[in-house]
Symmetry: C2
Subunit: 362 residues, 2 copies
């Protein structure tokens, strides 16, 4: 099998949701982070996700997004047919979004294997990613719910972890999952890293649609039945969608299925980032950690004895003097100044703007 060949019956499912509040003022409710070029590649995170998956899935894509973003998604991904973009009537978390895609694929392609990958993650090493997906598909064809486990680079307390089990019989490069564990303290995470037996849970799942729905039916039978009913008669979508539980796929299926011995993991070696905030983005863009990184036109930025991240998006000159690890994000209607350390708290500003009815800015 050639390494660059597509995978038969492999469907790429891209949940494109989330506001990216901690990336304000770049990311807004009307234009969330997956629609933005955050890496300077010339492509949005959504387009990068598509480009990473297209060699494997060819034209077999399903993007699940909010109604408000359907037009932007189809504009950014013109090669997708209109049927490839599902608009959720309202946000109901990842189980409903991914489950809807699964129900439609189960209906349309009995041999389908789906891989679900969020629209706002960054993975630069496409080759290593493809290799991991190929292994995951092999395991998925053997009816495992398969996740990709990211090798931790530091003891993060922001991610959940996957506890690795035994090698999977018959699938080289995959292992059983002993358990999913919730976001730990940094101390506990350090212990995980020391063992070498833990991976970050990046929420990437590869599975046969029917297996996914059967697992859902085991713990949430009405949920699975509703999704399958929608697939059988899409006119039921408006009626049934609001009745679906708001629950993450991890909690609905992955955690109980791991306890039941039904989940496999492909320990992956590629670097991965979910670009959660400007600290994460700064680290992603400049792994050396020294100097000032500019996301945009660097001729607009004048720096004296400073370091950090500057995003000049208003056309104005941005000057920074004597600040380390600073974050300056300059947009036409709003400016943010913070530090990498405090970047998580940008959401407080967004909350304040909402409280002040400044929805034009959020």
């Amino acid at each position: 099998m050639a390494a660059n060949r597509s995978i038969d019956n492999f469907w790429a499912v891209i949940p494109a949701g989330g506001a990216g509040t901690r990336l304000w003022p770049l990311s807004r409710a009307g234009a969330p982070k997956f629609l933005h070029d955050l890496t300077g590649s010339g492509m949005s995170l959504l387009q990068e996700t598509w480009a990473r998956l297209a060699p494997l899935a060819e034209e077999r894509f399903v993007v699940v997004t909010g109604r408000a973003h359907r037009a932007a998604v189809t504009e950014q991904l013109p090669s997708l047919g209109p049927g490839a973009v599902l608009a959720e009537p309202s946000p109901r978390d990842s189980m409903a979004a991914i489950g809807l895609a699964a129900a439609l694929l189960e209906r349309d392609d009995p041999d389908a294997v789906m891989g679900s990958f969020a629209a706002d993650h960054v993975i630069a090493d496409h080759e290593a990613f493809s290799e991991s997906v190929r292994v995951a598909v092999d395991a998925a064809r053997a009816d495992w719910l398969v996740t990709l486990g990211i090798e931790p680079t530091f003891p993060s307390s922001a991610f959940g972890y996957i506890h690795l089990g035994e090698d999977l019989p018959g699938v080289t490069g995959a292992r059983a999952v002993r358990a999913f564990v919730e976001k730990p303290s940094t101390d506990v995470a350090e212990g995980y890293l020391a063992t070498g037996a833990y991976r970050w849970n990046a929420g990437m799942f590869v599975v046969r649609p029917g297996v996914l729905l059967d697992l859902l039916a085991r713990w949430h039978p009405e949920f699975a039945a509703a999704l399958r009913a929608i697939a059988a008669d899409v006119s039921l979508l408006e009626e049934l969608w609001p009745t679906l539980p708001k629950i993450a796929l991890d909690h609905a299926i992955a955690e109980p299925a791991a306890e039941a011995g039904r989940v496999a993991v492909v320990p992956a070696s590629f670097a991965w980032d979910d670009v959660g905030d400007f600290d994460s983005l700064a680290g992603l863009l400049d792994r050396s950690g020294a100097g000032t990184t500019v996301l945009g036109d660097s001729s607009l930025v004048r720096v004296f004895e400073s370091s950090g991240l500057v995003v000049p998006r208003s056309g104005r000159v941005v000057a920074v003097v004597g600040l380390d690890d600073v974050v300056v994000v300059d947009t036409p209607d709003a400016l943010l100044v913070t530090t990498r350390e405090r970047a998580q708290q940008v959401k407080e500003i967004v909350a304040g703007l909402r409280d002040a009815d400044r929805h034009d800015l959020t």
Copy 2:
């Protein structure tokens, strides 16, 4: 004599020069700091200087400024006749600027006493200022070169100091000047403050024009002769001006005259600030030092766990998260982010922009 009466034959001379480079991007070569409202009073520093002096000088004003700013000065001070604004052909430091005003006043009013006060200083207590000027005028009529000595509030290494001498015979509230001393180290300045015998030199001088020119003639006879020649025939201005030495009044006259026992000082009690940089401005606007001070429309500023100075002048929302003593100055074509501690180094940015031929921004 009523405290609010004007002073006979008192002429207010306002040197309106200096680029205010350390207040970039508010202050620009084309619109230096004296043309800006830096206190939120609704008046520019120049207008505040005029308003402070008008009760004493009535309409007896001479403003000396660069040619590029003459139109802006006359626009900001419409009550001055056009003859009250002298435009220097080129910048030649304070001795030439103030000396030119002195030569014209010596010619026009034999009983004149002139008081020279920079256009970009801030003095909130007009009453205490007026009282000090009245005492200074009394001493000036007795042919002293009189300066106002500001009571130091901290051991600044950014100002020169005046060493107080004996009480002046016949003028209550004035003392002889023992010496002017150059900007000291902070350690030396601490010693000065401990003695109580030192005042900050704010460059404010009150003197009879003829006395000023005679003192100049003693140490720089050609300089004084050239100024008097211009006063006698103003058509010589263009020819003689470029020949005048570029020297500060302090060095040309005040320091040698103090050694010669010709200088008096009125120890003043009013608070004074030369608004040299954004640290100084922040301290001036918020003496408590806590919280965030906004110079401008505070509804544009959103702050979370921060302190410092924010100047929103572009109409955009400015958000600051988790930075103490920060300085954010937002203008339509340029943005500055620095700290109060590093505010002096803003001039490095301006120098860099000049080197890059971005004169549109300086």
